[in-house]
Amino acid sequence: MTPAFRRQRALADYTLAALARRRGKNIGLVAIYALVVFVVASALLFSSALRHEADTVLAETPELIVQNLVMGRHDMIEGNAIAALAGIRGVTRAKGRLWGYFYDSVNGANYTLMVPLDPERALAPGEAMIGEGVPRARGMFWDTAPLFLSRQPGDLVRFDVVERLSSESALVSTDLILLNEADFRDFFRLPDGVYTDIAVTVRNPREIETIMSKAGRLLPEARFITRDDISRTYQKLFSWREGIMVALAAAALLAFAIFAAEKASGLSAEEAREIGILKAVGWNMTDVIAMKLWEGALISVGAFLIGTLTGYLHVFAFKAGLFAPILKGWSVIYPDFALTPRFDGVQIAALFLITVLPYTAATLVPVWRVAAADPDQVMR
């Protein structure tokens, strides 16, 4: 061990002994501090997870979706519309999508059944890929367990689960069941040649208005939904909630600033006297400041870790339960909604910077002032 290391070790030991003396006070301090970090971390993690959900949804959304309307309601669309749309200039691809909702009355769960558009994900008859939420809802615990779906009592359809979808986004894939096209049609008793809707990809997104007006002439009954429309819906859904989170985080940070300012305003007579004694027995200013840095670091890093960890658990394991009143309405849209855990290094670093650094700096200001004075003056 080098002397420099032994010196730090001795200073840290002193700090621990000093903190242990005022155990109650210091535990209280860490608790308040951790609470602030918890609120900020929860708000931050929650809003960024929301934004990530929205981004993921949008990334998988085609530029244009064409739906057939019958009496103003969404109905199946005929396959020959696909060729008509594909013929419009500027359209790179038009594909019929098959998807629908299924309510599993046995487990009381909702699933989204879908035929994958991506040829790489094409499934053989009798196979299925399922989202993470599906086995959870059904209590299928081992990987190879087959999936049984029942449309009515006595009728069971069996699928072999070939893959579980790792969910990048809870919204997109938790309740998803991907099937082969023939199985899908059979399950919902759909005739060949009809689709739920048509996904259109365009070469240049700025041409979307022109393409829509041409398509409107070809398919006067249809409804057109652009990615922007969907994006706006999500904005409505997310933005004010995110705003509240930001406000909450700001309020918590303000409380924290007041707390740090109080710390910066001065030391108690006892603390000042202690620094005087340390200096009198030969500690220099660097020693005193290093020791106080240890103190600040132990308190703030401890509180940071506790606050961040509990915030993370709160948002991702407990579905941000404490924010429930603010988020009311959310659960109507997504009955069992759990955000996908995400660990964002930059965000955690930012949280560290706005909580640990100001506190540590704030504690050092008065220490420095006292440590720079003659010991005789502060000791009396």
Binding site: R6, R7, A10, L11, A18, R21, N284, D374
Partner: protein, 226 residues
Amino acid sequence: MISLHAVTKLYNEGRPGEVRAVDNVSLEIERDAVTVFKGPSGSGKTTLLSIIGCMARPSAGRVLIDGRLVSGLPERFLTEERRSTFGFVFQRFNLIRGLSLLENVTLPAAPLGEDPREVEARALARLEALGLAGKAAMPVEYLSGGETQRAAIARALINDAPILIADEPTANLDTELTHRFLDIVGALRDEGRTVIMTSHDPRIWQADHVNAVISMQDGRIVGEYA
């Protein structure tokens, strides 16, 4: 040699309640010797020791330690001086409450980067010599007056500083313990160290180990005898 030239210390300078605690003191203190200050309460003994020990700055005058001018140096140089040159026994002990006796005694060594086991062994030996070995783990606020006094002495000795400054080190000690302290002082002097103390106690002034007694009154030196 520690030399003071026309040293004056004013408290509350220029304000109501100004106190001239040390008044134009010139003085030379021998190294490798034991020097004792005596004098009535309020005569400026503690203030003078603070100035000699680089804990306070004179309002006027100069202080030299072995020819080095220390008065007027910025605080960070004074810390270095205190660390390398002095061990202190304060009149009010100035132990840190809540820490154990051993933690208090090893305090001056903490920033030096020494092997903690060596420091601890040294501290325990000092405590042993002062009859405190059994109390090493006790928080200092539970020690008796005499034990606290000895704790302060042990702390002052831990870094083997060349100059020991002790302000009323035996005020709380009985005859037996006072003699034990004087034995330590004699041993330090024999090792070539300097001891500067204040005392009201005639047993100290008359002790064999003491080389010089200086008496003070109203911040001035009024007598000096070897």
